[in-house]
Amino acid sequence: MTEALLEIKDLKTWFKTDDGMVRAVDGVSMTIARGETLAVVGESGCGKTVTARSVLKLIDMPPGRFEAGQIVWRGRDLIPLPAADMDKIRAREIAMVFQEPMTSLNPVYTVGDQIAESLRTHHGLSRKESIDGAVEMLKLVQIPNAERRVHDYPHQFSGGMRQRVVIAIALACKPQLLIADEPTTALDVTIQAQILELLGDMKAKFGMAIMLITHAMGVVAENAQRVVVMYAGKVVEEAPVEELFGNPRHPYTQGLIRSIPRVDARTRGHARLEQIPGTVPSLLNPPAGCRFANRCRFATDPCRDSEPPLRQVAPNHKVACIL
């Protein structure tokens, strides 16, 4: 493995609520190497987004708090870092693309302003220079008539176009890591492919690493090199993409893979799409043993008694299951 750019070590991000502590991220570790695309998959509510936001420290505190762990960025732990230093890392070194293009742009400023804002902050550009920079970025993300549209407001763009603007904002300062939090979930299917393609192009151009958060296994297979599977605030499996799809070890991963819609399914005799029964357990009082036990068809008493540790089963392949 090449040099680690980001190393998350045993991160615990908890939220205090009226009913008690919600352990949204409960001991998660993962690494991203320079230039690598890492996919983080799992159902909604399993802690993917919280993990991603924790990296940029975009968690509201309170109610959230870092209970334990480290987020090591290029050798430096971000958790104790003062806000001012954190702001120098945001956008310039780590940037983020959000799920909802319809709401993640400020309605009262032009898109040009919003792209230019980080250029001005981090590169000390003048107003004019930064708007020129914004035009360049809009061209890069393939928005037609960039010179004119730079002065338009977000409501004048379609959802797909807005997501391109969001990507332009994120990439404006040429970060080394781009965190894409479900960047295509809110978009039409045809637009989804375009946005993923754009992300691929951008990666080829800038060479940044990407942390791709998604719940769609199909997206994972086509875009990532390595995969981390999360379930109920924990990592349950981690492997290179071919290894994961070829030899999934955790019953949850197997279920996720089987639930991918396949065009050729009918010819093979599978009439129905498979689904995983049940839902993600409450993170308020997670079950004592394996958190997947109540949905797992292989679960035995030892599974319910103690939590299975993440163990190495093949080179670069880890799984948290005793089977």
Partner: protein, 316 residues
């Protein structure tokens, strides 16, 4: 003209804590509302304060039997003492007795005006919400129009023009009471009407109303049995605030010398009489002012607590 106000801009998103399955406890709606109300500590304190105030003006005359109009020039403009706990005014009348009496009127005006405003508002809002189309548009235009009327000047104008007629019709005190209640209530129904209409529009499409309609419930029945009870929460909150506003409005009128006549010592009227003696008898103004303030403040806090309890989505 001012259009609709968004009650809340919030997008329903819960960053991170998405998977919080609240452990469901079997509690009644009222129990749940009470549980939320209790968490608002100032509202609970205010409830106690208001209960004490109402008990004081309600039961006060039984315990404090000094007449309100016992003139004693020998004891005029005295500060608080054992014989006159709140002191006396320029005619030597006992302020405690006068404030107890005036408080009854002030609170009665507040409640009655609220009742007028809520009744009228619910009616207008229900008609607008049910009728939709042109009727709705006209009613809402009228509502907006009333919202932008300069209330106090209009209040003063109406009282100026109609005072004598009602006085002749209903007697001095009753005439002023009815006039003030009607006018204050008649100028405060608009927020309630808007709330009720908004509730109607959103509830009309909800499943349980659809279900009732499918079962053949008549329109009136639908409104009374299914829609109104659901719209009640915000209306109760608005009504509570209306009581406070009406008390202030009545006191303002009396303070300007245009409310109740001099021999009816409402809190505002006492302040009006006291304001020229601030330098020699500050207690005369301080007690009625504090009474108004305490009443209004506790009602407002109770309204805030009720909002937490009954209408948790709204923040304003």
């Amino acid at each position: 003209m001012a259009g609709s106000i968004p009650a809340s801009l919030s997008a329903d998103q819960a960053t991170g804590a998405a998977a919080t399955d609240r452990p469901s406890r079997p509690v009644s709606l009222a129990g749940e509302a009470w549980r939320r109300f209790r968490k608002h500590r100032l509202a609970v304190v205010s409830l106690i304060v208001l209960a004490l105030l109402i008990a004081a003006v309600g039961l006060g005359p039984l315990l404090w039997k000094v007449p309100i109009n016992d003139i004693d020039f020998g004891a005029k403009l005295r500060g608080p003492s054992l014989g006159h706990p709140f002191g006396t005014d320029d005619l030597g009348q006992d302020l405690l007795a006068r404030l107890i009496y005036g408080g009854r009127i002030s609170i009665a005006v507040g409640l009655a005006a609220m009742f007028v405003a809520v009744t009228f508002g619910v009616m207008i809002g229900a008609i607008a919400g049910m009728a939709s189309g042109r009727v709705d548009a006209v009613l809402m235009w009228i509502t907006d129009l009333f919202l932008s009327l300069p209330q106090l000047p209009l209040l003063l104008l109406v009282i100026y023009l109609f005072r004598d007629t009602l006085k002749n019709l209903l007697g001095l005190e009753m005439g002023v009471f009815v006039l003030i209640v009607l006018v204050i209530g008649g100028l405060r129904w608009m927020p309630v009407a808007r709330l009720v209409r908004a509730q109607f529009l959103s509830l009309r499409e909800k499943e349980f109303v659809e279900a009732a309609r499918a079962l053949g419930a008549s329109r009136i029945r639908l409104v009374i049995r299914h829609i109104l009870p659901n719209a009640m929460g915000p209306v109760i909150v608005a009504g509570t605030i209306d009581v406070a506003a009406a008390i202030i409005a009545e006191s303002t009128l009396s303070f300007l010398g245009l409310g109740f006549p001099p021999d009816v010592p409402t809190w505002g009227r006492v302040l009006f009489d006291a304001k020229d003696y601030l330098d020699i008898a500050p207690h005369w103004a301080l007690f009625p002012g504090a009474a108004i303030f305490l009443t209004v403040l506790s009602i407002n806090f109770i309204g805030d607590g009720l909002r937490d309890a009954l209408d948790p989505r709204r923040v304003l």
